[in-house]
């Protein structure tokens, strides 16, 4: 009898980043002891995790369980959430929760301050390719569990990818796009292909495919006079998402080419529960 091989866990990362914050900090100094911009930042760090938890509750309303998800890192003006979804379905619903958090909070923060937020969602199979490592010297662990970090090409790719999204937008990694596009039920998720870009150290220096996410019932806020009036903004305004079958074909062609020619070892995400 052969034993069923256990598939390694998947880590899902979701980054919410304040856009326009540097300019805001220099313009909103105020004349009191605490600068005016501080209020906006305190609100961002307090409210976004709460809204995210509320959106998780809404996304998982029909599910029996809710996955563990929480703030993994805060880097400057950026909050990075991390979750360990146990199935493709959980990864899909967490992505929806994150998307709605970004789009809703983008509208809220823009009503109060001259700020926008943008999001990036990416995933890594924690295997030989991406590893969890304990860092005992790092604050944040406790007596029983040291601080855990993640290292690997798919983790790095997400941080590079995050810089490619625009204000109010959610950009999604190719492996997560592949996973969600292969599911029978879309749950209203759509992907907009906006082109390719070389991301340093990713895909052996070949251009990385860029996808923005939208939902059938909720589009990101797009302003034609944004400074970065870019391809992503244009594609979202066209409201013409790419068909899942076409996405899967394109991503498979890219993966086959890169693995054959560049030995990149790109793998699609797999879950034990699927």
């Amino acid at each position: 009898m052969t034993e069923k091989k256990e598939k390694p866990a998947v880590a899902l990362f979701m980054s919410a980043d304040l856009a326009g914050s540097t300019a805001f900090k220099s313009q909103a100094l105020g004349d009191s002891d605490s600068p005016k911009w501080l209020e906006a930042f305190e609100a961002f760090f307090r409210e976004v995790p709460l809204i995210m938890m509320g959106q998780i509750a809404a996304a998982f309303i029909m599910e029996e369980e809710v996955p563990r998800a929480g703030v993994w890192k805060v880097i400057g003006d950026e909050i990075v959430f991390m979750a360990h979804p146990k199935s493709s379905r959980e990864a899909q619903l967490l992505t929806i929760a994150f998307y709605r958090t970004i789009v809703n909070y983008d509208r809220q923060i823009f009503e109060r301050w001259p700020l926008r937020i943008k999001g990036c969602c990416w995933a890594a199979q924690v295997s030989h390719r991406n590893r969890e490592i304990e860092i005992p010297e790092m604050l944040g662990g406790d007596a029983e569990q040291a601080y855990v970090d993640f290292l690997g090409p798919d983790v790095d790719a997400g941080f590079r990818l995050a810089s490619c999204g625009g204000r109010g937008q959610v950009i999604v990694s190719s492996n997560l796009v592949q996973l969600i596009s292969s599911l029978d039920e879309s749950e209203g998720i759509r992907f907009h292909y906006i082109g390719r870009k070389v991301l340093k150290g990713v895909y052996a220096g070949r251009p990385y495919p860029l996808f923005l996410m939208s939902m059938e019932d909720q589009m990101p806020e797009t302003w034609e006079w944004e400074p970065e009036h870019d391809k992503g903004l244009e594609e979202l305004r066209k409201n013409n998402p790419m068909e899942p079958a076409a996405i899967l074909e394109m991503l498979e062609r890219i993966r086959n080419y890169l693995n054959r020619m560049c030995h990149t070892g790109i793998e699609w995400l797999e879950f034990q529960a699927d």
């Binding site: 995790p49 709460l50 809204i51 938890m53 509320g54 998780i56 509750a57 809710v66 563990r68």
Partner: protein, 110 residues
């Protein structure tokens, strides 16, 4: 954070004191799991002495509500101070969970 457990007419009442956040939520989760394992199907979270709750605390409430729903049980949260009420309002949990103004009202709702 401190959690004390009482039984009031078949309802498991959990009295929280302090902050329910990333650091303290594992303790709270263990206490709730113990109650569920023992077969409790009616749980009241009394937050009269709770100063603050974070998103990780909200996750425990959500997970507990789901487990109780599967066993035809019920969960109520009562005595929210202004800070905790604001957290519930921002997150939308005020419209997701059963809330009561005080313990008397909460117990009557089971």
């Amino acid at each position: 954070m401190d959690i004390k457990h009482r039984d009031v007419g078949g309802v498991s009442v959990l009295d929280f004191t302090g902050n329910l956040d990333t650091n303290t939520s594992p303790t709270a989760e263990a206490e709730v799991s113990r109650l569920l394992d023992e077969g409790s199907t009616k749980i009241l979270f009394n937050f009269s002495e709770l100063n603050f709750i974070s998103s990780s605390g909200l996750r425990i409430l959500l997970a507990t509500a789901k487990k109780l729903k599967m066993s035809d049980g019920k969960m109520v949260v009562c005595n929210l101070n202004d800070v905790v009420q604001e957290v519930f309002d921002i997150s939308g949990f005020a419209s997701i969970l059963n809330l009561a103004a005080n313990e008397e009202e909460a117990l009557a709702s089971f």
